[in-house]
């Protein structure tokens, strides 16, 4: 978990006399996972050369018209279903009018009064228990281009590759109360969207960003304080830093007898502070009105139901199943379902080996390895297939757990088959009682003195015999069998 998270205790801003509760709502902008843009057929690939993914529509040439990309609509509906939300059969695309160099149309096509998705909710698995966060709405909108101010000293350069890319804006109710909850909320949203394949959730590439609404109120009061909106924060860590700074700033003002001005603020990641961007007075008048180039979007039940049929098992349901079917603890299940790729990996391994061992090996050795190599599970150096084989080898007694750990390390180098490693290196455990008996007989024969001492009551010497047998077998003797046979022979 992030270093910043303050355990699960109440997040309160404390001053001499008063304690303040922090009220947080998020407007998450999630880039729709789609080959082409919301209203044009240009590709959406990240990191392409500037202005190479721009159609005449994206650059707002005269006479160009938007045409809705049906796939993006489906993605938004899918996400809405994942958020247990109401899908609105009629929604409207509006124009949000403002001038900016990277906004070619002079307006952003968005959804204002009639979004495609209505109220829903998300369950957070907090260490203290479940917490429900209500979703107000999800709407579709176009992304803007990018203004680049630091390449040319004289001019601002504009890259329109991102212009027109589909975004889902997911607006939560002001239900979040701590930095931890923000962390869990973003992760849960991302998890759901990744399960659905509707957003890759990649914050480094800007596929997931948020506007953060923060207000404070004295603990125990019901009325909401005046909020400030911190624009466009692009990592969980920055969200937490921004909220912490902003909440304290607001508390300081209130403590000094001041009032909070409703305003839009920017978070300066270098100075770790928020700064006023514009106040309520000079807020933009966006002059929203329905885009006359697009008809209202009307969906029928068949269309929505066909999408419902494609919804995979989502993290909450999967968790429930893992607990019921595999008898996992809530904690274990949470870890395994939080990421769709992890859950897939787990199911593949456990299906062909053993649930308990699979859980332990994945959350233990494998996570440690991935952490060390800074890899996602999808790029795991050990495939689920081979990990399942390794676990099977442990389970059927071919190798000991201790040996398995060194084999695991060898496997990491080029996803080697553990069976082959065992065979090539002759690491197979000696489990043939007859062979073991031969070794044991020899050890007993060669140590008459110790046998005598043992029989006369020196129980501790048993370990000596085990050690000798293991040594003779080159460490391959099945320890359980050795114990059994030794006991029989010596008693």
């Amino acid at each position: 978990m992030d270093k910043l998270s303050k355990e699960s205790k109440e997040y309160l801003i404390k001053r001499e006399i008063n304690e303040y509760e922090v009220v947080i709502g998020l407007e998450v902008h999630a880039q729709v996972l789609s080959e082409s843009k919301l209203f044009s057929s240009s590709p959406t690939k990240f990191g392409s050369e500037p202005n190479t993914q721009v159609s005449l529509v994206d650059a707002a040439f005269p006479g160009m018209l938007p045409v809705i990309n049906e796939f993006c609509i489906k993605q938004a509906i899918k996400t809405g279903i994942g958020l247990k939300a109401k899908i609105n059969k009629k929604s409207v695309f509006d124009r949000k009018n403002y001038f900016y160099a990277d906004l070619p149309q002079g307006y952003q096509i968005s959804q204002y009064k009639n979004p495609i998705v209505g109220e829903g909710s998300v369950i957070l698995d907090m260490p203290t228990g479940e917490k429900k966060v209500n979703i107000e709405r999800l709407h579709l909108e176009q992304d803007a281009g990018k203004s680049i101010h630091d390449i040319d000293p004289q001019s601002t350069l504009v890259d329109l590759n991102r212009s027109g890319v589909a975004l889902m804006e997911i607006v939560s109710r002001p239900d979040l109360r701590s930095l931890d909850e923000v962390n869990f909320y973003i992760k849960k949203l991302r998890s759901i969207m990744r399960y659905l394949g509707t957003c890759d959730g990649n914050m480094q590439e800007g596929s997931l960003r948020a506007d953060v609404n923060v207000s404070v109120r004295k603990k125990g009061t019901k009325e909401l304080g005046t909020r400030c909106e911190i624009k466009n924060v692009n990592s969980i860590k920055f969200m937490q830093m921004a909220i912490d700074y902003e909440a304290n700033r607001q508390v300081d003002i209130i403590e000094k007898g001041g009032v909070i001005d409703q305003e839009t603020r920017l978070f300066d990641t270098k100075k770790n502070e928020t700064r006023s961007m514009r106040t309520k007075e000079d807020a933009h008048d966006y002059r929203y009105f329905p885009d006359p180039d697009l008809l209202p979007l009307e969906l029928n039940d068949v269309f929505i139901n066909d999408i419902k049929k494609t919804i995979p098992e989502l993290p909450d349901e999967k968790k429930k199943r893992f607990i019921e079917k595999f008898k996992l603890s809530s904690y274990e299940a949470n870890i395994l379902v939080s990421d769709i790729e992890t859950s897939k990996y787990f199911e593949e391994v456990s299906k062909n080996s053993d649930v308990k061992l699979a859980t332990n090996w994945i959350t233990g050795e494998l996570f440690a390895l991935l952490n060390e190599k800074n890899l996602e599970i999808i790029d795991s150096p050990i495939s689920s297939n081979n990990l399942a084989k390794l676990i099977s080898l442990i389970k059927n007694g071919t190798i000991s757990g201790k040996l398995a750990k060194s084999i695991f390390e060898m496997m990491a180098d080029g996803d080697k088959d553990p069976n082959k490693i065992v065979e090539e290196k002759g690491l197979k455990q000696q489990s043939d009682p007859k062979e073991l008996e031969k070794i044991i007989d020899k050890v007993i024969l060669e140590n008459p003195q110790n046998v005598k001492s043992y029989k006369s009551g020196k129980d501790k010497l048993f370990g000596f015999f085990v050690g000798q047998v293991m040594k003779r077998s080159g460490g391959k003797a099945n320890p359980q069998l050795v114990n059994e046979i030794l006991k029989k022979k010596l008693n």
Binding site: A60, F61, G63, V67, A101, G106, P292
Partner: protein
């Protein structure tokens, strides 16, 4: 062959098909006449050289199955044309050369049409007299210093002066029908959704429609047939059975019920207009049609509603002309300064006026009182027509409340200019088709038009009624080529 330009579109097509004329001969004839007609100022951009090459290309490899085989056409400069400068009559697009073709002009090219030039129009189609064009006034060939109407003034003037055998315009509030009426020509505003808006410089998206402007109704049916198509690049384009407007053209209107809306008899309307209307009524009756008095009770609110909705959409549609990506850019000390200078130098007064009105009516605090209310009025106007169409098949009205006026006569009085569109605007608000046909002259000898309004997607019906009236009205334009030295 100086009489080539006197031929109508349909006859030119026939003559080319019969090889009586080549595309080159026809194209040359219209170009030559255009070159002698600079005084009318109808062209913003001439495409003569290119057109001649294309005519030759057609003659080398003629395809007589096309609907416009090697036919030269000049088009309103609101249609984006690949490789041909497209200005929308504005300084802000003075040097803009599209790399794409509007669907309507593409349809014309696909049927063998040849574009000989781009015609003058009011800036961004905002005007009723062609006087707001950055490229100057257009003369009406009817008489010197007379406006040709607007916004498709270059189109109407070129057509009446026979610089092009037919042309295309756009109609947001009357911009095809009013100039047709002012120049004694035929203009059709199709049902919204019939002709694709793709590649047409947008004025007011929910009202804009392209349409044909021709010498007579038959030519109109022919050109409309070519223009209208379903286009998946325009989300408001409508898929419906478009039929064969030319083949199905007939003058039999027996039993057709034609409505006469009493609200269109406005105070102060010249007597000649009333007489013209009566003349139309009589012709319909004698052709077997039945005249039915109808009511369109919300007509009075159409013009104010239009002057809210259209500027609102325009204010947003024109936001893209910001000097950043293409078109005119003025230098500024920062982005905002550049915007302000670019847009105040790049746009003319009427465009600025409408951007201001549109911005105002959409502002928070005013939206409900203006824009939303105007949309409700629009719905009521649509309902009026729906009600009327339960009783009648079409509606007959004058096209305009007056004949063409003098250049400069109304430029200082925007409201009196806007009143010119009083009979045409409701039709755009309702999204219906309407055709203006020349029907007579006023006492100055200026042409007057009658408008036939139809049901949505039933252009055939109004074409037939227009055809039937046309046959009996014996209209003749009095044009003496005064502008040719």
């Amino acid at each position: 062959m100086s009489n080539i330009t006197d031929l109508k579109l349909f006859d030119l097509v026939e003559k080319i098909k019969k090889k009586d004329l080549s595309s080159k001969e026809v194209t040359e004839a219209f170009i030559q006449r255009s070159q002698k007609s600079k005084k009318l100022n109808t062209y913003i951009t001439e495409n003569f050289e290119d057109a001649l090459k294309n005519a030759k290309k057609f003659d080398d490899k003629p395809d007589f199955n096309k609907k416009l085989p090697g036919i030269p056409l000049a088009v309103k400069d609101l249609f984006c044309t690949n490789n041909i400068r497209t200005t929308a009559g504005s300084k802000i697009l003075e040097n803009f050369i599209p790399t794409y073709e509007s669907t309507v002009t593409q349809n014309i090219l696909n049927e063998g049409g040849i574009i000989i030039g781009k015609l003058n129009c009011d800036e961004f189609a905002m005007g009723s007299s062609n006087e707001t064009s950055y490229f100057g006034n257009v003369q009406n060939p009817i008489s010197e210093n007379l406006v040709p109407g607007g916004s498709s003034g270059g189109s109407s003037s070129s057509l009446a002066a026979k610089l092009t055998p037919a042309t295309i315009g756009t109609d947001t509030g009357g911009s095809i029908r009013q100039p047709a009426s002012f120049t004694g020509t035929v203009g059709l505003k199709p049902t919204y959704g019939s002709c694709s808006r793709y590649g047409i410089v947008a004025f007011a998206s929910s009202l804009d429609q392209a349409g044909p402007m021709t010498q007579d109704v038959k030519d109109c049916a022919l050109l409309f047939q070519v223009m209208s198509s379903y286009d998946n690049k325009d989300s408001t384009s409508v898929e419906f059975n478009r039929g064969n407007y030319l083949k199905d053209l007939n003058d039999n209107i027996k039993g057709k019920k034609i409505g006469i809306p009493k609200q269109y008899r406005v105070d102060g309307m010249p007597k000649e207009i009333d007489e013209l209307w009566d003349k139309g009524i009589k012709i319909i009756e004698s052709n077997g049609g039945e005249i039915v008095e109808i009511s369109l009770p919300n007509t009075n609110y159409a013009l104010p509603a239009y002057y809210i909705v259209a500027p609102a959409e325009a204010s947003s549609n024109l936001a893209r002309y910001d000097g950043v990506k293409y078109g005119f850019r003025s230098k500024g000390i920062n982005l905002i300064d550049m915007y302000e200078k670019t847009r105040s130098e790049g746009f003319g007064d009427e465009v600025k006026r409408r951007i201001m009105i549109g911005t105002y009516v959409l502002s928070s605090g005013y939206y409900d009182a203006y824009y939303l209310k105007a949309q409700k009025v629009r719905r009521l106007i649509k309902n009026d027509f729906d009600e009327a169409y339960k009783k009648v098949d079409a509606i007959l009205t004058p096209s305009t409340p007056s004949s063409a006026f003098k250049i400069g006569e109304k430029t200082n009085d925007p409201v009196s200019m806007y009143l010119n569109d009083i009979f045409t605007v409701p039709i755009n608000l309702a999204g219906l088709p309407a055709i203006s046909i020349p029907a007579g002259h006023d006492n100055k000898g200026y042409p007057l038009g009658l408008q036939i309004i139809g049901k949505a997607f039933n252009e055939q019906n109004i074409l037939n009624i227009a055809y039937s009236i046309e046959k009996n009205i014996n209209f003749k334009n009095n044009i003496n080529d005064w502008w040719i030295n």
